[in-house]
């Protein structure tokens, strides 16, 4: 390299560096993948165009449930970002340990973000001990998605979905097809949702008013007889369809299509906790299926009421962020939640914004321009389900609770333990942690 070339390169480097100088940099972590992530990036790019003095540095990775190692390392090194897109489900456990900044004051003076406007379940999941630690950004309304053609083929009336989980088991059996060796070739349920995480069990427990902790949050109630009954129902569902191993075999056979549900490919007939995100998958792999899908509330336990929890993400600002940076980050959060960006985000990500004003806006848009939405009839069905949304109760151990529930489902469905024994074991683990946490807090 000649000296002249070297000199020119140094000059270019200085010029590039100086363009960033004087800019406000917001480091934003936790951008998820897929259409949702693309929609978020589009909003950030729009913001940077409108505010050239701000640079948003985006880092991908799902924070909140997975990939928390990076955040923990950042805390240790005192190098946390100014903004994180966080799974709302675990906001409380990080807030309880002082990892996030309370946002009450920011929200109180916000133009677009009002607590009264938020759906109660979303607000509850974003709060801990009377403070709001996260701005709910999106939600996935959930309900029972059924394949109309499969229903008709099995002699079932698609306008009459199962009224409760017991009937759901009967329907699931009728809808399941086996080959001559007894292997499942089409499943009456989306089997993976029962074993990869324990969400159907959570929906069932909510349907009978049970929860994983007492109202004061200090006693683990995972072995409540209502939850034991719910787990027992899931075990019977498994056994009715041929047993856990047969179902697991069916699931693993489909893992070639990683990330795509069997419902979207037509290999399962009912998705107990189907969500709007299902539409993105159907659009991608089998768009013609959309016309043959109908959505209902997920059937509750006998005597219960249909409930759904609406998982989703939120914005959090880590504790220790300098106030000027936190203000800048919150300005960007407000921009994301402004009406001009809501619809764009929803259409691109097939997720909804859990605020009353946003849902009204979406409903109006859906009526006025149905052609802008993929499968508008399903959008309508899913939007209707938001009325039965229930929060996943915030505790300092939600991730551990999910891990233990998953183990309990495994132990019970593989018949290593009875549902009662499996939940007793899970409750004991959680209780030990709760006792330790609250003893320390005293």
């Amino acid at each position: 390299m000649t000296f002249r070339r070297f000199f020119v390169m140094v000059l270019i480097f200085i010029l590039i560096s100086s363009t960033a100088y004087g800019k406000t940099v917001i480091r934003w972590w936790g951008i998820v993948g897929g259409p949702q992530g693309e929609a978020l990036k589009a909003i950030a790019n729009k913001y940077m165009k409108l505010n050239p003095e701000v640079t948003i540095e985006m880092r991908e990775g799902t924070l909140g449930l997975t990939d928390v190692a990076a955040f923990l390392a950042a805390i240790s090194a005192k190098q946390t970002p100014e903004l994180i897109y966080w799974d709302r489900f675990t906001v409380a456990e990080f807030a309880a340990r002082g990892a996030f900044m309370p946002l009450d004051d920011f929200i109180a003076s916000s133009k677009f973000i009002k607590t009264k406007d938020m759906y109660t379940y979303a607000l509850k999941e974003a709060s801990f001990k009377g403070h709001i630690y996260a701005v709910p950004q999106d939600a996935a309304t959930h309900g029972l998605a059924i394949n109309i053609n499969h229903y008709k083929e099995a002699g079932l009336d698609p306008s009459k979905p199962p009224k409760d989980f017991e009937e759901f088991i009967v329907y699931a059996k009728k809808l399941t097809k086996y080959d001559d060796k007894g292997n499942i070739i089409r499943c009456g349920i989306e089997a993976s949702e029962y074993f990869n995480d324990p969400t159907p069990l959570v929906v069932l427990m909510k349907s009978v008013g049970a929860d994983w902790v007492s109202i004061d949050g200090k006693k683990c109630t995972l072995n409540d007889p209502k939850i034991v009954n719910a787990l027992d129902a899931i075990v019977r569902l498994c056994d009715t369809l041929g047993g856990r191993q047969k179902l697991q075999d069916f699931i693993s056979a489909q893992e070639v299509m990683a990330g795509i549900s069997y419902f979207a490919t037509g290999l399962s007939s009912q998705y107990y906790r189907g969500g709007l995100w299902l539409l993105a998958q159907i659009k991608r792999v089998k768009p013609e299926l959309a016309k043959d899908v109908k959505v209902f509330p997920s059937p509750p336990m006998p005597g219960g009421k249909p409930k759904a929890f609406m998982g989703g993400f939120s914005f959090v600002i880590p504790a220790g962020t300098p106030m000027d940076k936190a203000k800048e980050a919150f300005k960007f959060i407000e921009f994301c939640m402004s009406p001009e960006n809501i619809l764009e985000y929803e259409k691109a990500s097939t997720k909804i914004i859990p605020y009353h004003s946003a849902i009204n806006l979406t409903k109006k848009e859906l009526e006025a321009k149905p052609q802008d939405f993929f499968a508008p009839h399903l959008w309508k069905d899913f939007l209707d389900l938001i009325r039965i949304g229930a929060p996943r109760t915030p505790t300092p151990f939600n991730f551990l609770i999910y891990s233990e529930l998953k183990r309990a489902v495994d132990n019970a469905t593989y018949h290593k333990m009875s549902p009662k024994e499996a939940l007793d074991q899970a409750a004991a683990v959680i209780q030990k942690n709760l006792d330790e946490f609250y003893r320390k807090e005293k």
């Binding site: 340990r97 697991q248 069916f250 151990f397 551990l400 183990r407 320390k440």
Partner: protein, 293 residues
Amino acid sequence: MSSFRKVQAIAGIVCAFPSILGFFFFVLGPAIASAYFSFTRYTVIEPPEFIGFENYKALISEDLFRVSFYNTIYLTSLGVLSTIVTSLVLALLLNQKLRGISIYRTIFFVPSITPLVANAVIWTLFLNGKYGLINYVLSWFGIKGPAWLADPRWAKPALIIMGLWGIGQSIVIYLAGLQGIPLELYEAAEVDGAGIIAKFKYITWPLLSPTTFFILITSTIAHFQMFVQPYVMTQGGPADATMTYVYLLYNKAFGWFKMGEACAMAWMLFILVIVLTLLQFYFSKKWVHYEIS
């Protein structure tokens, strides 16, 4: 010391300095810190709180810890045994004078240099109960294969079988050992009327004992640290059947706010590996032959 020697020594220290610095900051420092954290209640987010041996006591009385320990001992004992036997047999086969033998050797070595995550994804498909290659091959012999990764009884053997995919390095080490055995010994044995089995028993096996000892140590340590397979393929399931020690350690550290317990687990594993290695060294005196005399 002559001035030339001094200059050499200084140059050596200067060259090694970055590595020494790295060792102190990135290995020894964190190791000492983790020893301290193992005696604390530590979530990473909050400051550590000293609790003495509580983490160690809690772990010993924990069901999941015991399950993970059992799984790891199972995987290590059978995994190490199968690694040694299979790599030795393959090395003996690959030590033949055949046309194109280097191609065969390459074929056996390649899987060991492919990334473990990629291997794990491929093996998830191979081990599929319904469409997997393993069960397809078994069906040629009229055997109905199990639902490997879906069946708690077969998940651990499945991981052991998968482990054989990456024994290329052990094969190469054995091959080097085999080629270091003087041919005269075999010729002399043949003159004395020794057959294949006698030659293996009295020449090959004893003279390969240092190689076997090396593979035994390194393979034991590697099996104790099994993480990628459960992380990618099974997430510790089904029903905790593949919950390995290090996978549980990872969950405790980065999922359940128990960095203190995770550090305690790391130190328990370290001590266990040291003790086992020392025991192996002690017993090696009885079966490892370092010199041809």
